[in-house]
Symmetry: C2
Subunit: 288 residues, 2 copies
């Protein structure tokens, strides 16, 4: 079966009207394309769960805070579509920027304090733009289920909160991060790394694992854990740690003391590429 | 037929699932209750247009900028329900505040510059809260059509813009303002006026009609029109004009020169009650 490639909102809605009239469930996997094995996991899960699967491919200009990042973002539509075919995706929705933004939007989604820390602190407006475009795709596709990768943990937490706060009638499903054998989290931006940068890029997951071990070993002080984790990053001029923080996995606020599962998340610049990753760490039970 | 009174989101959604599976169209009339002949027009139009009509009654605390206004807002649920029965409304959705806001929302709708003028200038945050709660009701009910009164012109313009910007899959229908024989626009807040205040309250529509006549007569300068209109308001200590402005009817921005239809809108305090009203004025064609 060939996935139908659709670029207009009206055409997609027409097709999905038939799907809905047949009472088929719709699963949406919103992506920016350059699909990798992490996306494959999302698409495969949607394929298992839903009668109709829509993959959207849209590099949303509004959520990029740096023009060079937008310009350099990989675009591989032909390969993406073939991959969607193989997985049995029903509709690949790849609209133009003008189709999604006929003008600059005035009404947008505000994401409150969930964007105050982690990536949100360094990318002003980024998550509001992500939430806005995701809300648009939710309203265009009206899926019963939507799939997001846990690698983008803050994005996932914000989408979950948006769905709850605005009563969006769908279920948000988070899918575990897929990693290379050496631990590097899959990301479309990995395509940009030189071989030397690729070798250095595992510094982030190693720092996160150091923090995870400390949490598991019973350390309760986030600052101490953070210091020890940051100390594992090699002093290489190509590497610059943007943040490494321990936050509550639901409201994305820093924790004072670790007494329940905590999200350890970081952003690392490797040359001119910014990579993010995270782990959910569970403290060992306190002996009574 | 009796309109079903429903207070839980889950229960309303369950009922509407059957409606949707039967491919019936749903019309939503969102209200704050204290229904009057203006609301009746909205409900009757929905009844004509749609197979299933939902009237929501919810006094949204977040959109009130003054605690006394919230406290004094009229609540007449029994009468509202009887009126809905008479019109043949299918579902009266009257949730509690806790049902709509189990906690303070973090993700809300931002309305941009459409709230910069008119009421938005005097009621900071009001329209963002209106847009947020309306978005919630849209997502709870998922109607094909939603009905709003033109009396709240800025609200209507903002809802239209939100629907366009976020691709909300429904049609927004504006319904003409219903007026008393002396011109006073119907409003739930009219219930609060003393007989003396009621007599004074027509000052607003008279000022708007003065502006409308000037526009129709060919005056092109908004400032001149505004001055002449404001001058018609009696110098009574019970009256205080908050604003009287001429704006573009779509983007709610002030106009420099009147060469197409313009919204003339005002807010007048009558004692401790704030009333709003507006007219859409069309300039006479320029002789060539």
């Amino acid at each position: 079966m060939t996935a139908a490639l659709i670029s207009s909102i009206a055409s997609l809605r027409r097709q999905l009207t038939h799907v809905r009239q047949a009472n088929h469930t719709i699963g949406l996997v919103p992506t920016m394309g350059a699909l990798h094995a992490g996306h494959v996991r999302l698409l495969e899960q949607a394929r298992v769960d839903c009668e109709t699967v829509v993959a959207s491919i849209f590099v949303n200009p509004l959520q990029f805070d740096r023009p060079d990042d937008l310009q350099r973002y990989p675009r591989t539509l032909e390969a993406d579509r073939e991959l969607c075919d193989r997985i049995g995706v029903d509709f690949v929705f790849a609209p133009s920027v003008d189709e999604i933004y006929p003008g600059a939007p005035e009404c947008t989604v505000n994401v409150g304090r969930l964007a105050d820390h982690l990536c949100g602190r360094f990318r002003p407006g980024h998550f509001a733009s992500v939430a806005t475009v995701v809300m648009k795709f939710f309203d265009i596709v009206q899926p019963q289920r939507a799939y997001f990768g846990e690698k983008d943990a803050q994005q996932l937490a914000i989408i979950r909160r948006m769905v709850a706060d605005l009563n969006v009638p769908l279920q948000v499903i988070g899918i575990a991060t897929v990693r290379e054998p050496d631990g590097l989290a899959l990301s479309s931006r990995n395509l940009r790394l030189s071989p030397e940068e690729r070798a250095l890029a595992t510094a982030l997951v190693r720092a996160l694992r150091q923090a995870d071990s400390a949490v598991a070993a019973g350390e309760r002080d986030p600052a101490a854990i953070q210091r020890a984790a940051v100390a594992t990053i090699p002093a290489d001029p190509a590497l610059r740690l943007e943040y490494l923080e321990l936050v509550d996995p639901v409201d994305m606020q820093p924790v004072e003391r670790i007494d329940k599962p905590v999200l350890v998340a970081g952003a690392l610049w490797v040359g001119s590429t910014r990579l993010i990753d995270n782990l959910l760490s569970t403290p060992k039970a306190t002996p009574q």
